[in-house]
């Protein structure tokens, strides 16, 4: 291969479990060119881009990127500063809590840019993208278009040679889309060596690029110059070329024809009047009005986040409008009106049927939920399976079907109950052109033949053209509403897209001149190649980012601190192993002076509280069973007489064994009182002897002279609380990034695993240290537990313990895949060893076998020793260093395991 080749793939394939996502494919791409990657959702586009970006591990084949094999770790490390990857989704790799500038600075630090250099480049990029004015706005509060521009800024901050964009403009309004590509062209003008690889759902975009790759169902349909590929069909369009290659050999389907609508001035099906919906101070839908006639196909055209979905939700009664009115089929929309719901079919944006059920089962379930008569539902389901051509897959789990088929099934479910109105939210997003045409055939039939009113949203211009009328929506407002043709005339565009762009420009008070003129300034010097194995700056960048997010999530912070204090208070007061006022009753079958004298000792003890006496043996059992008493003392008949005769009468103490530890404690008390009583009893016996004790037994309760529970429990509870809260804080750290997508930044940047882990841990460690300080203060001043030992030892031990528990959370986060599993795992894994085997209730020295092992293999017990030792035993570091060392060992082991579990590339 020569130096001018940017990408060279040979025999590259990829599997997810049994699913072959990419079949062996080969292509090459010269440096400095632009290449479009097209294909429907699930075709394998993202997988291919992930492999090229080094984000996914290459399983099969050979892939050369910028002159080296992506398989080699050394080469991948060298590539990080040269490659920029922007994953799919609007702002998925951005941090929503962070401002625009903070986001860019974060990426700049990861790539080792100096402060001055970063500020200079950021200023230039922000000017070019017209984001300057919003520099301090959190990324989460940006529109879709702005998010994508910010994503591009973050990708370009380190001047890459290969820019990989995964559907960067899907769902972005046409004006922002144009601006986006203008910006990319500016960058290319400055860096001619820049190779651009873009996956896109818009064929018009792909047509601008010299090269094109067509993917379908994991197979490379065609690769080559866009011009030549397009020329294979008479229309000269990539759209048709794709369908051609897709069905190579198959018969070309009829082009889609839409018969004109018979306008009959029928009743209005859907009407909205000044509909407004606010979330706090954000207006999602702003005075939207329209009327849709019966049988009409009405389209909502606009970008993601412009209010299309929200308007639809208001119309279906999912959300109440803040102002204005809406009516459906002549009735005001009312969420509680189940009758209207039966006349409407709804299909939401994402596939929301049950993936584990088959197509037929889904239809049957919904037939039940819509209360279709049994006799009616079976033929109806058969009819739909036939009409929607689902017969071949009717009994497969629907979740595994290709997107186009799933959308068809969703539509079948939506029309199952013969609704008069269909509300479809972006029904064809991500579906390939041929399947989209199929879908439209069904819609046309429903509208024209059955008179169903169809209200749908889309961001495809060619679909908007097929609607009877469309309304252009932007930032919560309807900008214009008419037939597509009339709109083109009104705004004077050659195409509907031009018309929309004009319309947007007018709405935004003319194009921003500054933006059109702005150009990217040439960077002063190329970024230094940074190949440090460990960089404190990157670690701090991760830590400060995570810290900012935590500080801005006040609720989470409050829960973490208040939760610890709350638990300290109730456990400090609540956990006590003393048994006092034990409810007991006597069954005195003797009723002699001797028996009364014997029982007197129990009545006088603070450990016992007497309940009414027991009358017979049945009652004894019953009252213990009801748990009304915990102890019954049974004095046998003739107790006094036997005692006097020296016949050793036997007193039975009946205990409630249902709760063994309470029974055990009670037995102890009973025996103690009985023993103390013996001397007195001996005096009542036949030959009163002095029972002077041969030995003075002196029992010294050390460390806690009064055996006050809180002195022992308080410090122990600290160990308990500081096992749960720090672990829960960090447990979602990594898995949440996995679920939300920002984990890609870890895969695609020079950030190492250790930097990532320690950086994530730092802010949570800080919060946990605050927790520790609060808990120590509460023990000392609220519960009055004296701190007899070395505060230094407590501080060191506390730090080591928190290092261990926060790293345990990270470990759980590293090996789970969902947040649910992480939360459940944290609780299940920490609760057993912490509550049962840490020594909080039962001393660790008394544990045996597996229980003892589990206690030793968990950090809580060691900190319990330190906390109890420093508080009650006057110990210092001199005595407690082994425990501190053990805790540091846990920290090292957990971090080591996390390093192994955490992969720098996706599978």
């Amino acid at each position: 291969m020569n130096a001018a080749t940017a990408l060279q793939a040979d025999d590259v394939s990829h599997c997810y479990g049994d699913l072959q996502a990419l079949h062996p494919l080969a292509f090459s791409l010269p440096a400095g060119t632009r290449c479009g990657l097209i294909g429907p959702d699930g075709a394998g586009k993202s997988t291919l881009l992930g492999l090229i970006a080094g984000v996914k591990r290459l399983q099969q084949g050979e892939l050369q990127v910028l002159g080296g094999s992506i398989r080699q770790r050394r080469h991948r490390t060298a590539l990080y500063p040269k490659v920029a990857f922007m994953p799919q989704g609007l702002g998925n790799n951005l941090y929503p809590e962070l401002s625009i500038r903070e986001n860019i600075r974060f990426f700049a630090t990861l790539f080792g840019l100096g402060r001055a250099e970063c500020e200079q480049r950021m200023a230039s990029l922000l000017r070019a993208t017209d984001l300057e004015r919003f520099g301090e706005r959190p990324a989460g509060k940006l529109s879709g278009g702005m998010k994508q521009k910010l994503g591009l800024c973050c990708a370009l901050i380190h001047e890459p040679d290969l820019l990989i964009l995964d559907e960067p403009t899907t769902g972005v309004d046409p004006l922002s889309r144009r601006r986006f590509w203008e910006l990319v062209e500016q960058v290319r003008a400055q860096r001619p060596q820049l190779t651009l690889l873009v996956a896109t759902a818009y064929m018009e975009e792909a047509e601008q690029f010299e090269h094109c790759l067509m993917l379908d169902a994991g197979r490379l349909l065609a690769a080559g110059l866009s011009r030549e590929l397009a020329a294979t069909t008479p229309s000269g369009k990539l759209d048709d070329a794709f369908t051609h290659f897709q069905g190579a050999g198959r018969e070309q389907p009829e082009p889609l024809r839409i018969p004109p609508r018979q306008v009959d001035d029928g009743p209005i099906a859907i009407e909205a009047h000044d509909l407004t919906l606010r979330f706090g101070d954000f207006t999602a839908v702003n005075k939207v009005s329209f009327a849709i006639g019966r049988g009409e196909i009405f389209g909502f055209l606009g970008s993601n986040g412009c209010g299309k979905t929200t308007t639809m939700k208001v119309l279906t009664g999912l959300m109440p409008a803040s102002e204005g009115s809406a009516s459906l089929l002549g009735r005001p929309v009312d969420a509680g009106d189940l009758a209207t719901r039966k006349r409407v079919g709804f299909m939401s944006q994402s596939y929301s049927l049950y993936g584990e059920l088959s197509a037929r089962q889904n239809l049957e379930l919904h037939a039940r939920l819509f209360d279709l008569a049994k006799a009616d539902s079976a033929p109806r389901i058969a009819e739909l399976i036939e009409r929607f051509d689902l017969g071949a897959i009717a009994d497969q789990p629907s979740g595994a079907l290709p997107l186009g088929l799933r959308q068809r099934l969703s539509l079948a479910v939506a029309v199952l109950h013969r609704p008069e109105v269909l509300i479809l939210d972006e029904p064809t997003s991500g579906v390939d052109p041929a399947a989209r045409d199929d879908f439209w055939r069904l819609l046309v039939e429903l509208s024209r033949e059955q008179g169903v009113t169809i209200f749908l949203s889309t961001h495809f211009m060619n679909e908007a053209l097929r609607c009877d009328r469309i309304s252009l929506m932007h930032a919560g407002r309807v900008l214009a509403c008419d037939t597509p043709h009339a709109l083109q005339i009104q705004f004077g565009g050659d195409t509907l897209e031009d018309a929309f762009v004009r319309c947007l420009e007018q709405a935004q008070d003319a194009p921003n001149q500054a933006q059109a003129d702005a150009t990217l300034e040439q960077a002063a010097a190329p970024a230094p190649a940074l190949r440090q194995a460990f960089s404190l700056r990157r670690l701090l960048a991760v830590a400060s980012r995570e810290g900012k997010e935590l500080l801005r999530d006040k609720v989470r912070l409050a829960f973490a601190l208040a939760g610890a204090l709350f638990m300290m208070v109730i456990f400090g007061y609540g956990i006590s192993l003393d048994v006092e006022d034990l409810a007991f009753a006597v069954y005195d079958q003797d009723q002699s002076p001797q028996s009364r004298a014997y029982l007197e000792a129990f009545r006088g003890s603070r450990y016992f509280a007497e309940r009414p006496p027991i009358r017979d043996a049945r009652q004894l059992h019953q009252r213990l069973q009801r748990s009304e008493i915990k102890l019954a003392l049974e004095i046998p008949p003739g107790f006094g007489r036997d005692l006097h005769a020296g016949r050793q009468p036997v007193v039975a103490a009946w205990l409630d064994g249902g709760m063994p530890f309470r029974a055990e404690t009670s037995r102890n008390y009973v025996e103690a009182v009985h023993q103390a009583n013996l001397e007195q009893l001996a005096a009542l016996g036949p030959n009163p002897v002095s029972r002077q004790q041969p030995v003075r037994l002196e029992t010294r309760f050390r460390y806690n002279q009064d055996v006050v529970s809180v002195n022992a429990i308080g410090p122990g509870v600290m160990a308990l609380i500081l096992a749960f809260i720090p672990a829960m804080l960090t447990a979602l750290g990594i898995v949440r990034e996995k679920e939300l997508g920002s984990i890609t930044n870890f895969y695609a940047t020079p950030l190492t695993r250790l930097e990532f882990l320690l950086g994530k841990q730092a802010p949570y460690l800080a919060v946990s240290l605050v927790n520790l300080a609060l808990l120590v203060a509460m023990n000392r001043w609220l519960f009055g537990v004296p701190l007899k030992g070395s505060p230094l030892a407590l501080a060191c031990g506390g730090l080591a313990y928190l290092l261990a528990t926060t790293s345990l959370g990270l470990l759980i986060s590293a090996f789970t895949r969902t947040q649910i599993a992480a939360i459940l795992g944290t609780l299940i894994i920490t609760s057993l060893p912490t509550i049962q085997f840490s020594g909080l209730i039962v001393p660790r020295s008394s544990l045996e076998g597996a229980a003892a092992l589990m206690g030793q293999l968990f950090p809580a017990g060691y900190f319990l020793d330190i906390a109890v030792g420093t508080f009650t035993k006057a110990l210092g570091l001199h005595e407690l260093w082994p425990q501190c060392l053990a805790l540091l060992g846990f920290f090292a082991a957990f971090t080591g395991l996390s390093l192994i579990m955490l992969k720098k590339q996706e599978a």
Binding site: A335, G658, P660, P694, A712, L827
Partner: protein, 369 residues
Amino acid sequence: MSRLSHTLRLGLKELTSLRHDSVLLLFLLYAFSVAIYMPAAGSVIGVHNASVAVVDEDHGAISRKLAESLQPPEFQPAVALPADRLDQAMDSGQYTFVINVPVNFQADLLAGRSPELQVNVDATAMSQAFMGAGYIGRIFERELLEYAGRSTSSPALLNPKALFNPNLEGGWFLAVIQIVNNITILAIILTGTALLREREHGTLDHLLVLPLTALEIMLAKIASNALVVVACTWISLEVVVKGALGVPLAGSMGLFLGVTALYLFASTALGIFLATLARSTPQFGLLAIPVIIPMLLLSGGSTPLDSMPQWLQWVMQGSPSTHFVSLGAAILFRDAGLSVVWPDVAALAAIGLVFFGVALARFRRSLAA
């Protein structure tokens, strides 16, 4: 009628989803087998295997006899300890009890000079210190009386008998407590996070546009969860508790499972309520800890309810776990019937209804926002 059938249909669907979630099934398996067997098998109640050392400054026959009198299972064999290491050994928590036999102990004893025998107790070992000291005192007294050749016969004997669990096997109760704890964790976390995930992923919308009410959706979630957990509880009681651990469960299994279902109703409703309070999964995780852990620790299953301050006892009456623990002990071990346990059942039902009502109101409101 149609409402009931909707709930049934949706519930069946939830069950099908569960069958496909292998990670979750694995968790269920662990929670109802290993996590119950382990602590119950290694359970320790009262004084068991306590560590003892003897500082013997007398080296007489009697001190050896005393040391040997502390026997398993209550005590580990006593370890001889030099006098100068006493403080350090106790500080490190190595021994819970250290017995100090002074010089000339035997001579003084025989001369009737009542020598002092010191028992040092690590009072931070809460569950053992007090009881163990009493034990040691009684054992030594008996030994010494015997040694002195005095009559050891007491004027009266005490015969402690434990009903419902004659040998006071700690594992019996702990097995049931572990089941209660795992049910609590699963019920609250699973329903709460599942609801948050549906909200974060937007799949709730699909259900809400169907002719279904919030009540039906919630009931379906609760019912299907309850069914699975009740089934797991049953199998676990039969296989792990009765089978592997050999605990004789005296009471009515049917009644206990019914009560379990009622408890699940209350705790899953609590999970939904918590989920409506939190705005994200991390918030929910942190909110769940100070709710779940006290429910586990203060329910009366780990430490006695009677010894808590009165105000806390009242607070804990509001926790469904308190009633469930008390019901578990009553039904399974004391073989108490409904006529005996109905107050706890009524309390559990009332708490469940309150949680459910509040959760439903908040759930409806959170859907609208």
